[in-house]
């Protein structure tokens, strides 16, 4: 076969205004995909990205089930039925367990875990109609190993791994294939949250993280994007329900 191509495929990428989501949208478009780019608010960055890629702006707060279904219907009616869902969005806060604001704790879980659940529910009918689909979910290294003061985020990302395992089994007979990525420390704006929590500047945070990574550096969003393309490849359906770790060797484990 050959390196993945997505000519004419409609790909919905959530959390696409910046960071990994933006890199995924750019990479998938470079491989021929028609990309619908989602984020929580109607951000000029989304419009610029959609314009640049010939894509479609799809705004919704994914923690809101009705908003997700309305967004997916809008993409379907005005851009095309969804072939590939990349559930990449995330919301993260950090706090010690007993002082964590419970509303904020649940907001993390509702955005990351439930949001992915609603997206899959909304996009599945398109995939069933066409007889094939690919779903790629962004989990996290912290969903694999946990992290202090990240109880909500780690729980939500670990939940995604189990959701992917279960839906891998449930959907593969229909040629709807779901897998996850667990990125390690990656150079995205989200790292500012970690830096703030640690009370150090962002550049210092990068150095601190790189020290515990065998490859000696943090990851780039483009490296995650290339993994998404591999997992979304319609020429491959033997890879099912797996979580691919892309972390520079910081964690080497079975997920």
């Amino acid at each position: 076969m050959s390196a993945p191509r997505f000519d004419g495929k409609v790909v919905l990428v959530t959390g696409a205004a910046q960071g990994m989501g933006r890199a995924i949208a750019v990479h998938m478009a470079s491989l021929g995909a028609l990309v619908a780019v989602n984020d929580r608010v109607d951000d000029p960055r989304l419009h610029e990205l959609a314009h640049e890629l010939g894509g479609y702006v799809a705004v919704a707060d994914v923690s809101d089930r009705a908003a997700v279904f309305a967004m997916v219907a809008d993409v379907r009616d005005n851009f095309g039925p969804i072939d590939v869902l990349v559930s990449n969005h995330a919301y993260m806060t950090m706090d010690s367990f007993l002082s964590y604001d419970s509303a904020d704790w649940w907001r993390v879980v509702k955005t990351n875990l439930a949001g992915t659940f609603w997206l899959i529910q909304a996009a599945l009918p398109d995939m069933r109609s066409s007889g094939a689909g690919r779903i790629v979910v962004t989990s996290s290294i912290w969903g694999v190993i946990g992290w202090p003061e990240a109880t909500a985020y780690s729980a939500s990302k670990a939940g995604l791994i189990s959701l992917v395992k279960t839906l891998g089994r449930e959907l593969a007979p229909e040629n709807i294939v779901i897998n996850a990525i667990a990125p390690g420390v990656t150079d995205t704006p989200q790292l500012q949250v970690d830096a703030d929590s640690a009370g150090v500047p962002l550049t210092e945070m990068h150095k601190i993280y790189a020290q515990s990574i065998p490859l000696g550096r943090i990851g780039k969003p483009e490296e995650i994007a290339r993994t998404v393309a591999m997992l979304a490849d319609f020429n491959m359906s033997a890879l099912v329900g797996q979580t691919i770790q892309v972390n520079g060797g910081e964690v080497r484990s079975r997920v």
């Binding site: 076969m1 390196a3 593969a172 490859l215 290339r226 020429n235 329900g241 080497r252």
Partner: protein
């Protein structure tokens, strides 16, 4: 990305090795095939991977033929189902020396150059049976499981030199390694797989190519295209 597009694939004469060779060639790589018989590669070297001295001279020959090597895939292997008490010492030794020894010998031969050039991707082929085990698979699973431990350790050791070590762990795959009457081909077994079918060698090759070309931040990772046999 790697600096050259020269690769070595062991077990290139058939099955997964042959599919990996074709996939890499299709992406512009020149591939040397190491096998017990001719692989039809860009530089065939008849090699017994269990023999460390032979592997060293094979790699030297490949470097003369192609130049510096940026990627290797250790796919040589054999498979047999034997109840544990029937596994004799020679059978055990052969299984370990081909699979684990083959990966070890290949790593010893190619890593000095990769480390010196700070450029390399090493991909080992292990197995779903290394993760989940199987009835009658104890020596095969032991050998393939050892490869996983080897890969994760080697990965941590050489990553600082910008050499990435990873593995692919296929499930039952439609290759000559599975005989026509293999239990892995029985419809009753295939029905238990989420994908409902054997993996194709071309799919395993796509994962190997990903690990070489695109997985530039993956280190010590084991990817499992196994039709959902082990999730």
């Amino acid at each position: 990305m790697t600096n050259t597009r020269n690769a070595v694939v062991t077990g290139a004469a058939s099955g997964i090795g042959a599919a990996v060779m074709r996939e890499l060639q299709g992406r512009g790589w020149r591939v040397a095939g190491l096998d017990l018989r001719a692989a039809g590669s860009d530089c065939d070297v008849i090699t017994n991977m269990a023999d460390g001295v032979a592997v060293n001279s094979a790699i030297a020959e490949v470097e003369k033929c192609l130049g510096p090597i940026s990627a290797v895939v250790s796919a040589a292997g054999h498979y047999e189902i034997i109840p544990v008490l029937d596994i004799t010492e020679p059978v055990w030794d052969r299984m370990l020396s081909v699979h684990l020894g083959g990966a070890f010998n290949l790593a010893r031969a190619v890593l000095p150059g990769m480390i010196e050039r700070r450029d390399g991707a090493f991909v080992a082929v292990t197995s779903e049976l290394a993760i989940g085990g199987g009835d009658g698979d104890s020596h095969y699973a032991a050998a393939k499981g050892a490869i996983i431990g080897f890969v994760r350790s080697l990965a941590a050791e050489v990553a600082p030199h910008n050499v990435r070590v990873n593995a692919v762990a296929p499930g039952p795959t439609d290759t000559p390694l599975l005989a026509a009457d293999s239990p892995w081909r029985e419809p009753g077994y295939l029905a238990t797989l989420p994908a409902r079918r054997l993996a194709m060698p071309e799919e395993i090759a796509l994962v190997a190519a990903y690990l070489i070309e695109d997985a530039t931040f993956a280190v010590g990772e084991i990817i499992s295209p196994n039709s959902g046999a082990v999730i």
